[in-house]
């Protein structure tokens, strides 16, 4: 049932491992996995940057990059070369050591997350019991890197950007974690491998992905929003707000260190897309039963690229939020919705009758959404703005 194409990378790994003495094989196997991650995800990063520039261009009725290589597909290579050979400027007043470490911490933390993502059948670097927790632990470390970058630059814009970024990431980490708790409740495991396996069933031709259940759909949407905020993507890109604080926490970075931040941001996006795919969209599972012959890793990467495309689409559509709107949205909409969703998931777990739980859960989710939306959208009394100190 499991085809050669599906396992091609696993077989390749075992083949290469065969050249080494048995005592070394485990280490070599892990090293190979690490190298694979370090090749595949930066490549996807280059691809998503290109997609983003092209896609945003088309949404704004422009061409986007089309000069380097056929149709501009070599643009990321040109950008990389440019970043590599640019002068690396460290501000005179900067805290040189922290300034130097910050991008490294960011990139390392972001790449660590991939260690636990199952990118295909039997394709996970470390299959551990608490892999979901591991992913979030690594995600939490990026906050520190962002703060280090902003603080060590000794620049007001950097510090402002870092404070915004950290405040935003902390606020949205709460709903992000809470939405994943729903999946953990239903699947009964913190292991991402088991979570994927729990979704890899079909009734007829349709898959059992969690997104097709009431709590899963709500969780998916909430996760999507929170992940956008967590990766500082538009419309939550206040930390970088070019119009007010230049480039936020990496204002004072240039050359390759800037490229590292850029890489960290996009790879972080890929990572969170991978996590979301794993939790709600069935990970490497095929979308229809009759498509099972397609290699599992293909589905995984296709899904995360779709996810990235959606991020790009959102970026092309939405204006940036204001700081207070951002916080209000996090604490007054996202958090209550995730809490309600937790209750819905509990109901789903403990109500046995199929039709009853479908009906009840849908009603609660939609009702809560409509009610919260009504409350949030209630027209505020808008009066001419008064400036207390200016009068």
């Amino acid at each position: 049932m499991i085809g050669k194409a599906d396992q091609i990378f696993v077989l390749l790994q075992h083949w290469i491992m065969g050249f080494f003495p048995p005592a070394w094989q485990a280490v070599v196997g892990i090293l190979l996995g690490v190298v694979a991650i370090l090749i595949v995800f930066p490549t996807l990063f280059a691809l998503s940057v290109l997609l983003e520039r092209k896609g945003l261009g088309r949404m704004q009725n422009r061409y986007g990059p089309n000069r380097v290589g056929p149709c501009g597909i070599l643009q990321p290579v040109a950008d990389a070369v440019k970043a590599l050979i640019k002068e690396d400027i460290v501000p005179f007043k900067a805290d040189a050591l922290v300034h130097f470490i910050a991008p490294l911490v960011l990139v390392v933390a972001v790449f660590m997350g991939f260690a636990v993502l199952p990118v295909g059948r039997n394709m996970v670097l470390v299959d551990m019991d608490a892999s979901l927790l591991f992913f979030f632990a690594m995600g939490a470390s990026t906050e520190l890197a962002v703060f280090m970058a902003g603080w060590s630059s000794h620049n007001k814009y950097s510090l402002l950007g870092a404070m915004r970024a950290v405040a935003q990431m902390i606020s949205y980490e709460v709903p992000l974690l809470m939405t994943t708790v729903v999946v953990v409740m239903i699947s009964g495991s913190l292991s991402l491998v088991k979570i994927v396996e729990a979704q890899n069933h079909f009734s007829g031709i349709f898959p059992h992905w969690y997104v097709f259940t009431p709590w899963g759909l709500a969780g998916f949407v909430l996760f999507l929003i929170a992940s956008m905020a967590e990766t500082n993507r538009s419309p939550f890109d206040l930390p970088e707000g070019e119009s007010e604080i230049i480039a936020g926490y990496f204002t004072e970075y240039s050359g390759f260190k800037f490229a590292l931040f850029f890489l960290g941001e996009y790879v972080g996006m890929l990572g969170i897309a991978g996590l979301g795919t794993t939790l709600f969209l069935g990970g490497w599972a095929a979308p229809f039963a009759f498509l099972n012959w397609v290699p599992s890793w293909f589905w995984f990467f296709a899904k995360i690229m779709l996810w990235i495309c959606f991020f790009i689409w959102m970026r092309g559509t939405m204006p940036r939020l204001r700081q207070d709107q951002l916080m209000n949205f996090a604490w007054k909409f996202m958090l209550p919705m995730t809490l309600i969703n937790l209750m819905v998931a509990a109901l789903w777990r403990f109500v046995d009758e199929a039709w009853l739980r479908w009906a009840v859960c849908w009603i609660i989710v939609i009702g809560a959404y409509v009610a919260m939306g009504r409350m949030g959208m209630r027209r505020k009394r808008i009066a001419p703005r008064r400036y207390r100190y200016a009068e």
Binding site: G55, R58, M59, Q60, N61, R62, Y63, W313, M314, G316, T317, M318, Y369, V370, M372, G373, R374, G376, M377
Partner: protein, 214 residues
Amino acid sequence: MLGEGILKGLAETAKNFAGSYVSKERLTTVQYPEERIPTSESARVFPFLVYDGPDWEAGLRCVACQICEKECPPKCIYIEKSKDKKPDYVGKLQIYPARFDIDVSVCMSCQICVEVCPFEAIKMDVEFELSTDDRFGGLLRNRQHLAKSNEYYHQIHPTEASEVDARLGEEKAKLEAKAKAAAAAAAAKAAAPAAPAAKPAESTPKPAEGTDKQ
């Protein structure tokens, strides 16, 4: 309902995305090196020196009066007067610029040099591809680079050039009439021969200043 606006927005961007592949009218970008928009007549980028006749060195209208050098706000014009004189376009002996450099990287295209020149000798070009890989020599345009013929001026700014030509022609005619009158007067008086003819010609700069377009 919450989220309705987002969906509408997404639909709008999707429409633009798809539309940009279907209809060419949406893409307003001009792909520059291959396609260009003709520059408008009133475009101005960087000054050049006008010359008349076939030889640029002989025909330069500039008399190195250095007014433009003084007036240029960022001080990017460097002029050296010549020691000798040579005949200008009307055949009168004049000083000419031995060196006339303008720094491309400093010029701000304000056109003030053009406004103040009493001799219609410096005008604005429409050439904008001034970039160079030699950042020291290449950005300092010398007199040879700057010299462009009056025909070229007609080509890029037809209206303005004809006005200037008309004005110069008028002046020349006036001058000739004056010279003729002087000569006639001289002949009539039958006083001192030859010499006086040169005298009135030397004061030509003064009336010319008045014709300067404001």
